[in-house]
C-alpha cells in the first residue's frame, strides 16, 4: 500500500499527524503535511486509514499497488 498526499489541497490542519504521527509530520513554517513514509508497514495502516477518513481537505489517499 502506498500513501498519496495531494499537497496543494492540504489546509495544514494537522489531523493526519494526530492520527498517524509515524507517517505524517508538518512543515514548520506553514503546517503543510509532510509524508514521512510513502509505504508504511502493515502495523501503521490503521492510523493511515484514520488520517484518510478525517483529513478535512480529502488530500490523502491510500492506494493498492
Amino acid at each position: 500500500m502506498r500513501v498519496e498526499l495531494d499537497e496543494p489541497k492540504c489546509v495544514a490542519s494537522g489531523q493526519c499527524v494526530m492520527a498517524s504521527p509515524e507517517v505524517f509530520d508538518q512543515r514548520e513554517d506553514d503546517g503543510v503535511a509532510i509524508l514521512l513514509e510513502e509505504r508504511p508497514g502493515e502495523e501503521l495502516l490503521d492510523g493511515v486509514r484514520e488520517a484518510v477518513a478525517i483529513c478535512p481537505a480529502a488530500a490523502i489517499r491510500l492506494v493498492e499497488e
Partner: protein, 413 residues
C-alpha cells in the same frame, strides 16, 4: 412566465420550514426536534431564513462531507445570494476584506497557510503543561472561594481567554473588553448597528495593539504576523482581521464546551464516572470528541453558496443558491453514529462535524481539543462531588449566539 401561470395558486406551494429551528425546552441539550424528520425524509431541503430567502439545508453527515469538500461550494460572502447568518453580517459583508473565513482556494489556502504555524500539532502539544497549570490554579481558586460558584466565570471563560490572550500576545487585563465585544459581535438578538459597533471596537483595539507589535515584537502570534507583514507576505489589514477573528473564535466556543460539557456529564452520571476514573489519555481524548459530537455547539448552520449547478441526492442545487449545513443534525445522523442520541464516551466519534469539514474546518481545533482534554481530565477528579446548584430547567440558555450554551452554570461540591 408560463410556469407561473400554470403553477396554480401560490399557497399550494409546499411549506418551507423556518431556520434556525426552535429547541424542545424540555430537552435543552438535544438538537431541534424538527431536524430529525428532515434528515430522514428530505435530507436536502429548502428552508426559510431571516431575510425571507430560501437556501438549501443539508442535514446528513455524508452529504455535508461531500459538499463541504466540493470546490463548487463557495464561502465567498460577497456573492449577492450568500445566506448570511443575520442582518449585521449581511450589512458588513460587502465591506469586509478577504479573510480566511470568506475566501475559497487558492486564495484561502494562501491565507490559511500564513496563519497556521502557531497551530501546528507539535506547537500546541507543547502548551499542555502550561495549560494544566492554569487549570489547576483556576480550580484551586474556585475551591478556596464561596460554594456554590459559577463554573463559567470560575473556569470555563477564564481558561480559553487566558490561553488565547497569551498565544496572541493580547494583554489579559483587557479580557472584560474583548469578551464582552466578542459576544456582542456574534449575538443575533442585537441590532446590526450594535453588533457592528462591537466589531469596530475590536478592530480598533487590535489595530493599536498590532502597531505596537510591529515596533516591539514579542514571542507571540501577533508578533509572528507582524514579521510576515514586514516581509511583505501579508497585508497589515489582513493581519489585524486575523487577530480579531482568532480572539473572537478562540474563547466563547471553548468556554461553551467546558460549561455545557460539564452540564451534559452531570446529567449522565455513569459517563461522568468513567471519565473521573480514567487515567488513559486516549479515553479522555475520545471523550472530548464524543462531547463535541453530542453537543455540536455551533448551532447556527455553516453558510455557503453554490458557484455552479450541483446534483446531489436527487436534487439540483443551482448556481447562486445558498446552502446551510446544520452540524447537530449531521452529528446525530444515525447512519454515521448509531444510537446517536446517546452520550457514549466510549464510542468512536472522531469523524464528527463539530469543527466543520473541508478547507475551512476549525483553525483552532487542536488548541480547543487540548484545553478540553485537560479540563475534562482534571476537573471531575479534583472535584468528585461536583453537582448542579440549580435545577436544569432554571438555567439561562443562550439561543441567539453563534454557539449554543449557558449564560452561567451554578455548581456546588
Amino acid at each position: 412566465m408560463a410556469d407561473t401561470l400554470a403553477g396554480a395558486t401560490p399557497d399550494a406551494a409546499p411549506e418551507v420550514p423556518e431556520y434556525p429551528m426552535p429547541r424542545d425546552l424540555r430537552c435543552p441539550l438535544a438538537p431541534p426536534p424538527a431536524l430529525e424528520p428532515l434528515r430522514d425524509e428530505q435530507p436536502i431541503a429548502k428552508v426559510r431564513i431571516w431575510n425571507g430567502s430560501t437556501p438549501w439545508l443539508i442535514t446528513r453527515h455524508a452529504d455535508q462531507r461531500a459538499l463541504l469538500t466540493d470546490p463548487r461550494v463557495s464561502n465567498d460572502d460577497h456573492e449577492p445570494d450568500f445566506p448570511h447568518v443575520n442582518a449585521h453580517r449581511a450589512a458588513i459583508a460587502p465591506h469586509t476584506p478577504k479573510l480566511i473565513t470568506n475566501t475559497d482556494a487558492p486564495e484561502h489556502t494562501r491565507l490559511r497557510r500564513s496563519v497556521n504555524a502557531p497551530f501546528l500539532v507539535k506547537r500546541i502539544e507543547a502548551m499542555r503543561p502550561a495549560i494544566q497549570k492554569t487549570v489547576d490554579d483556576l480550580i484551586d481558586t474556585m475551591l478556596a472561594g464561596p460554594n456554590p460558584a459559577d463554573l463559567l466565570t470560575a473556569l470555563a471563560l477564564p481558561l480559553p481567554s487566558l490561553v488565547i490572550a497569551d498565544l496572541l500576545g493580547v494583554p489579559y487585563k483587557d479580557h472584560g473588553f474583548f469578551q464582552e465585544n466578542s459576544n456582542r459581535a456574534l449575538d443575533s438578538s442585537l441590532t446590526a448597528e450594535e453588533a457592528s459597533a462591537a466589531s469596530r471596537a475590536l478592530g480598533q483595539y487590535m489595530d493599536t495593539l498590532f502597531r505596537e507589535k510591529l515596533d516591539n515584537p514579542g514571542d507571540d502570534v501577533l508578533s509572528e504576523m507582524a514579521g510576515r507583514v514586514k516581509a511583505g507576505e501579508m497585508a497589515h489589514q489582513e493581519a489585524v482581521n486575523m487577530g480579531v477573528a482568532m480572539l473572537i473564535a478562540g474563547h466563547e466556543t471553548t468556554a461553551t464546551m467546558i460549561s455545557l460539557g460539564t452540564l451534559a456529564l452531570l446529567q449522565h452520571p455513569d459517563q461522568l464516572a468513567l471519565l473521573r476514573e480514567s487515567d488513559d489519555p486516549k479515553f479522555i481524548a475520545g471523550a472530548v470528541e464524543e462531547l463535541l459530537r453530542y453537543l455540536s455547539i455551533v448551532h447556527s448552520g455553516l453558510r455557503r453558496v453554490a458557484k455552479e449547478d450541483i446534483e446531489i441526492g436527487g436534487q439540483v442545487i443551482r448556481e447562486g443558491d445558498g446552502i446551510l449545513f446544520d452540524l447537530h443534525a449531521a452529528n446525530w445522523d444515525p447512519q454515521a453514529f448509531p444510537e446517536s442520541e446517546r452520550l457514549d464516551l466510549s464510542r468512536p466519534a472522531r469523524q464528527h462535524n463539530a469543527f466543520g469539514y473541508g478547507p475551512h474546518q476549525c483553525l483552532g481545533q487542536n488548541l480547543a481539543r487540548l484545553e478540553l482534554q485537560v479540563v475534562y481530565g482534571t476537573l471531575y477528579k479534583r472535584v468528585p462531588t461536583l453537582s448542579l446548584a440549580a435545577p436544569i430547567e432554571q438555567l439561562p440558555f443562550n439561543h441567539t449566539g453563534t454557539t449554543y450554551g449557558v449564560k452561567c452554570l451554578p455548581v456546588r461540591w
